[in-house]
Symmetry: D3
Subunit: 163 residues, 6 copies
């Protein structure tokens, strides 16, 4: 059985992430979408909130597992018996950072391969940070994120205002 890991911060998960996940699901027997915990980052949503949003968005897949981890990605992949790490490629700036990470991961563990997939071109320039920014200024993000994420962004905004 070929297992793939799809790691990210997912703060929050977007339709672009889900597009990549959907492609990975067709190529591998099982895909583990997993939040990389990073103590030095200060996310908008807590780990638990992010996990909930992902679980809701992927519940129609039978071969997708939702998880989180801390530490080296390759060690996590090994513990999950994964043969591949899935990453989306959208723009040049992605490209260089992703290749750097992939090469480093390969040096740390040569048995897990990084596989790059391309999202639908309508998600080419979509990322979590621009979604957070549009939402903060009251823009409509329903084209960019699954429904539950839109609801969570709206709630977050109201809480900010009331404080």
């Amino acid at each position: 059985m070929k297992i793939a890991i799809y790691p990210g911060t997912f703060d929050p998960i977007t339709n672009g992430h889900l597009d990549i996940l959907d492609r990975a699901v067709k190529l591998f027997d099982k895909v583990i979408i997993t939040i990389a915990r990073n103590p030095s980052k200060d996310p908008l949503f807590s780990e638990e909130e992010r996990l909930d949003m992902i679980r809701e968005a992927v519940k129609h897949y039978s071969n997708v597992e939702v998880d989180s981890f801390e530490g080296l990605l390759v060690e996590y992949a090994r513990s999950k018996k994964a043969s591949a790490i899935v990453r989306g490629l959208r723009a040049i700036s992605d490209f260089e950072y992703e290749l750097q990470m992939a090469l480093m991961n390969r040096k740390l563990d040569g048995t897990v391969e990084t596989v790059f997939l391309m999202p639908n071109e309508k998600y080419t320039y979509l990322n979590s940070s621009i979604v957070r920014e549009i939402s903060r200024y009251g823009g409509d993000v329903s084209e960019f994120v699954p429904p539950m994420v839109r609801v969570s962004l709206d709630r977050e905004k109201r809480m900010k205002k009331s404080t």
Copy 2:
């Protein structure tokens, strides 16, 4: 069974191509490495010579098939029941052309996914055209191509000289 296509001109096949093939072989149940015939190109080696060099270089794999085709890649992939097209990503210039082709292929047939793999960094800047150029000027290409290709390049050079 997950089948992948690895298409190219392979004029000639290099160690960079073989590095990508080796990674694909671990991810898929079967990989078909296939020469895309292009009537408007004038290759150094004939299709038959290129097929022979590939066959020699991949003979130790049990799940690799060697083939050639003309026409639309996605139609070829469909006829082979492939779920993926494998491409190597080395440099920015690759990146843009490869994404363009992948998007076009996806538009023409949404069921076959393009999967990008990254070669070992020692092949980052290697391609068939630079191998042909080094060989033409008498440089040593044994680090860049499998043995049979080196022999063929040497023979080619001697034939050029004698005419």
Copy 3:
């Protein structure tokens, strides 16, 4: 009255070109879409065929003129009293070439400004050469070009076969 020039080879015109033209039409009082004749290129369609296809595709605009020219773009722009040259920006490789041409044109005539517009993201990776290639191999190009261009590409293909 602000006049803009939209120059290109248009061999053939694609929906990506028409998307850029449509944006330019809203920004300028008049747009001249013009074929740059290049004696050293060997186009698939004759200049007259390309002009016909453009005229058909833009006939619903009242402020678009169709033309062709040979020589320096800036001299042509001056003769048309244009204040801007319109160019589409899709990818990095475009970007550098376009900036080079824009800088050179500015050095040759500082009074005409190059204005870059971005096509709809669904045309990000579309260009005339890939359309010709898909058509040659029998692929369906109706998503990429206006109807008359599709008809012309089909006719071209039948003529190739019958010879």
Copy 4:
């Protein structure tokens, strides 16, 4: 009347910004240069100081308005009846970020078009942050900014020292 918005942080305004503004002024009937307030950024100059520096630098134009705003750029543009957003394109890193913002703005409001202009090549690698850094270390910035900005940077430096 065609109105364009030229938004930015302008912390401080540089000769590169003024070069782009000068090109926009020739293409549009009116240009509104506007500071995008960003609560999460900590600028060197206050909004009022930045507005003063811009006002001084653009006072010789009759069709330039100076303003500031908070919130979504497209909503601001709509409130100003602008048909275009003007952005300068200098380098590859600009290019990707600018295209991302332009695409997002287009999704949020399809009626306002982002127009990219290219500064004089002598400003290719100039930006506000490098100007602040050179000034902090006592370098001469008079080639990069208008006179009043140079004076303000010097004053800022003396204040830092005296504290």
Copy 5:
């Protein structure tokens, strides 16, 4: 005598930096590797620790000097009578930033030339920040840094844990 400056943050020095230094040493009569003090950055290692690690790593060169400075690089270079600044070029993102800095330095002092060298391709994607990250998560960095740096990173990690 041709003197070159090799400036950086070196937090910590990596085998990639040492590869560039080794190339510079062969081209110039003397190379000064120098830490650029930046009050607004918060490095992992103190200046003194970084200087110690560099001194240990370069002690086998007779024509390398180790130093640190604050302020404008070109003024430092002038005070050292250097005719060149050495920089390594690995990736596109480097490329743009490095050209920007080189152009600015040239404007500030036209007598010192920036010289770009390319590291061995095995260091293409190596930088100090990725080394710090791998070390923090317990990964093995011995392939990426000289021995003393590995020891210092391990000590740093133990101190973090014990607090």
Copy 6:
């Protein structure tokens, strides 16, 4: 004595090439500017014409030698006892090709180092092919090339017309 090679096609030599040469001259004791003969290219100017134009343009340097060669650059460099190959870096597209060539040359001979220099930003987008194109269409190239090259381009143009 440090010797550098500055290789190119120089069809024709431009002010951008001369800008790079001038920087190299200050860094090395001797610079050999040399035409790489390429039998598969069809240059506008003959090798002898190109050598004449270069000789005229560099005659005021005492430490510049003008030459031409065929074959592998690294073998030529070795025969000239050069320790460096000088290349100009202007744009991203240069960057990738230049790094590829530099890496290949290093693999073929590790003793000669490729050194990248950056031209004045006013030559960022200048190259020989654009100069030939502007001249062919009657544009003024006197800002881009030395006087003798302008004269040669004019003569070439008159000859084309009279045939």
